[in-house]
C-alpha cells in the first residue's frame, strides 16, 4: 500500500513540479513568435528528461549514492570542482529567475512592483526550507503546482487546430528569424532538461530510502510524471500560439504573458495564471536552493538532510540560506527576471554536457549500478539530445547576441 501512495505522490509531484518560469516563458515566447513550430523542442526535451530522471532514480536506488556523490568519488575532486562551478552558477541564475517569477506573479496580483517583493519572497522561501522537511517541500509545493493544469484547460478551450499542432511536433527549419528560432529552441531544451531536477530527484530518492525494489516505480514516475509535465509545457505553447500570434504580440515581459489565458478563461484565466506561476516558481525555487546545497554537502562530505534540524547539518543549512539571500540582490537592483530566465535557460543548454557526460559514464559503471546499468537505448537517446542541445546552443546563442 505504501508503494502505491508513493507512486501516485511521485507522479503528482513531478507533474506539479515540472513547470517553472523557464518552461512557461520559453513556451509562451515560442508560441507567440512561431506558432506550433517549436513543439518538437518540448517533445525532445521531455523525452530526454524522462530518461535522465529515471536514471538518477535508478542510480540512487541501486548504489545508494546521489549523482553528486558518485561524480566526486568516480572522477576525483579537480574534475568535480569544474562541474560544481558550472552547475552551481547556472542553477543560481535560474534561482534568481524563479524568485523573480514569484515576485512578478505577486506584482500582477497586487500591483506592487516585483523589486519590493524580492526580500519577502526570499525570506518566505528560506523559512519554508528552515522549518520544512524534505517531504513537505517536495510534495507540498508540487501539489500546489497542480494549478498549472489550468494551462491545459485554457489551451483546449481555445480549440486549437490539432492537425497543425501535430505538425509542430516534427522539427522544421523556419524561413526567417533563424537565429531567434534557434535561440528559443535552445532555451526550451534548457528549460525542460534542467540538471538541478536530476540532482534534486536523486537526493530525494536517498532521503526516501529507495532500494532496488523501487526501480519499476521509478520508471513509472519518471515516465508518466514527466510526460504529463511535457503536456503542460505544450499547452502553454499552444495557448500562446492562439492568444498572441494572431495579434502579433511577442512575449518579452511578464505583464504580456499574464494575458495568456484571458481569451479562454476571462478573469479566471488571469488569476489562475498568476497563481500557477506563483506556486510553480515557489516549488522550483525550493528545489534549486536545495540542489545547490546538496551539491556542496554531498560533494564535500558534510551531513545533509532536509529532515534534520538546521543545527544538525549546519554547513548545508548555511549554504542554502546564503544562496537564497544573495539571489534576492539582483532582483532588488531591478534586473528583469524574464531576461535572466531566457539567458539562464540558454546557458543551461550550453552547459548540459558538463552535467550529463559524467552522469552517462556513471550509469555504465558496474561497481555503482551492477546489473542495472544503462541499456544502449538510454545511452543513445540522452547522448543524442545533449549533443543537439550543445550544438544548437553553441550556434544560436552567439548569433542571438551578435545579431542573426
Amino acid at each position: 500500500m505504501k508503494k502505491i501512495l508513493q507512486l501516485t505522490l511521485g507522479i503528482v509531484t513531478s507533474v506539479g513540479g515540472f513547470l517553472e518560469i523557464g518552461s512557461v516563458a520559453t513556451a509562451a515566447q515560442a508560441g507567440a513568435l512561431f506558432g506550433y513550430k517549436l513543439l518538437w523542442a518540448i517533445l525532445l526535451g521531455t523525452i530526454c528528461l524522462i530518461f535522465l530522471v529515471e536514471m538518477s532514480g535508478r542510480l540512487a536506488a541501486v548504489s545508494k549514492h546521489t549523482i553528486v556523490e558518485a561524480t566526486r568519488e568516480r572522477f576525483g575532486f579537480p574534475f568535480f570542482s569544474a562541474v560544481m562551478l558550472g552547475m552551481v552558477l547556472v542553477a543560481f541564475l535560474v534561482l534568481v529567475a524563479e524568485l523573480g517569477g514569484i515576485g512578478l506573479s505577486l506584482q500582477i496580483l497586487t500591483g506592487l512592483g516585483f523589486r519590493w517583493w524580492a526580500v519577502p519572497v526570499s525570506l518566505a522561501v528560506w523559512l519554508l526550507m528552515w522549518k520544512g522537511t524534505f517531504s513537505l517541500i517536495e510534495n507540498g509545493a508540487s501539489l500546489l503546482g497542480l494549478v498549472t493544469v489550468s494551462f491545459v484547460v485554457a489551451a483546449v478551450k481555445m480549440h486549437p487546430e490539432w492537425g497543425s499542432v501535430a505538425h509542430g511536433l516534427i522539427p522544421t527549419v523556419p524561413g526567417d528569424q533563424k537565429a531567434k528560432y534557434g535561440f528559443v529552441a535552445v532555451s526550451i531544451l534548457g528549460a525542460s532538461i534542467s540538471p538541478y531536477l536530476m540532482y534534486f530527484y536523486s537526493s530525494g530518492a536517498i532521503e526516501d530510502k529507495w532500494d532496488t525494489s523501487y526501480i519499476p516505480m521509478n520508471r513509472i514516475i519518471a515516465g508518466f510524471g514527466m510526460t504529463f509535465g511535457g503536456f503542460l509545457s505544450m499547452a502553454v505553447l499552444i495557448a500562446a500560439a492562439l492568444a498572441f500570434q494572431p495579434r502579433g504580440i511577442s512575449v518579452e515581459k511578464f505583464e504580456q504573458a499574464a494575458l495568456l489565458m484571458t481569451p479562454a478563461l476571462t478573469h479566471w484565466g488571469f488569476y489562475l495564471f498568476a497563481l500557477a506561476m506563483l506556486f510553480a516558481c515557489l516549488g522550483a525555487a525550493l528545489e534549486i536552493s536545495l540542489s545547490i546545497a546538496y551539491f556542496f554537502a554531498q560533494g564535500l562530505g558534510w551531513s545533509w538532510s532536509e529532515d534534520l534540524t538546521p543545527s544538525r547539518d549546519s554547513r548545508f543549512s548555511f549554504v542554502y540560506t546564503a544562496i537564497i539571500l544573495v539571489a534576492a540582490v539582483p532582483l532588488i537592483l531591478g534586473v528583469d527576471p524574464m531576461k535572466v530566465t531566457m539567458l539562464s535557460m540558454a546557458l543551461t543548454a550550453a552547459t548540459l554536457p558538463l552535467a550529463i557526460v559524467p552522469f552517462l559514464i556513471l550509469m555504465n559503471d558496474p561497481s555503482y549500478l551492477g546489473g542495472h546499468r544503462n541499456g544502449w537505448i538510454s545511452n543513445s537517446v540522452v547522448a543524442i539530445v545533449i549533443l543537439i542541445s550543445f550544438v544548437l546552443a553553441v550556434i544560436s546563442i552567439p548569433l542571438q547576441i551578435i545579431g542573426g
Binding site: R74, F75, I361, N364, D365, P366, R373
Partner: protein, 103 residues
C-alpha cells in the same frame, strides 16, 4: 625518508631512465595488512584512467580499434622501479621496454 601527498602525484608525467615519456601516474595498487597500507605498484598510462572511470562499456568499442596502435596502453610499475625522490618529476629506474603491461 620523505612524505608526499599521493593525490598530487596523480596525473604527473613519468619518464623512464633515459628520459623517454612513459605516461601519467593514474592509480596506486596497494596491499592492506594488519592496519598498514603498502604500495605494491603504480599504474601509469591513459588506459589506467579509463579503468578507474570503469567507462569500459562506453570505451570498449573504441579501445579495440585503438589497442592495435597502442595509443591506450598502461604499465604496471612495481614500487622498486619508481624513483620518487623528486615528487614533481617521477622517474623510472628502468627502461620503458622493460615495463610490463597491466592486464
Amino acid at each position: 625518508m620523505i612524505e608526499i601527498n599521493a593525490e598530487l602525484l596523480l596525473g604527473r608525467k613519468v619518464c623512464d631512465v633515459n628520459g623517454e615519456k612513459v605516461g601519467r601516474i593514474e592509480e596506486f595498487v596497494v596491499e592492506t595488512s594488519d592496519n598498514a597500507c603498502l604500495v605494491d605498484a603504480y599504474l601509469v598510462g591513459a588506459s589506467a584512467v579509463i579503468d578507474r572511470l570503469s567507462a569500459w562499456s562506453l570505451v570498449r568499442p573504441i579501445q579495440k580499434v585503438l589497442r592495435g596502435r597502442s595509443v591506450i596502453s598502461s604499465y604496471r610499475v612495481p614500487w622498486e622501479e619508481m624513483d620518487l625522490s623528486d615528487p614533481e618529476h617521477p622517474k623510472l629506474k628502468v627502461q620503458r621496454s622493460e615495463l610490463r603491461h597491466a592486464n
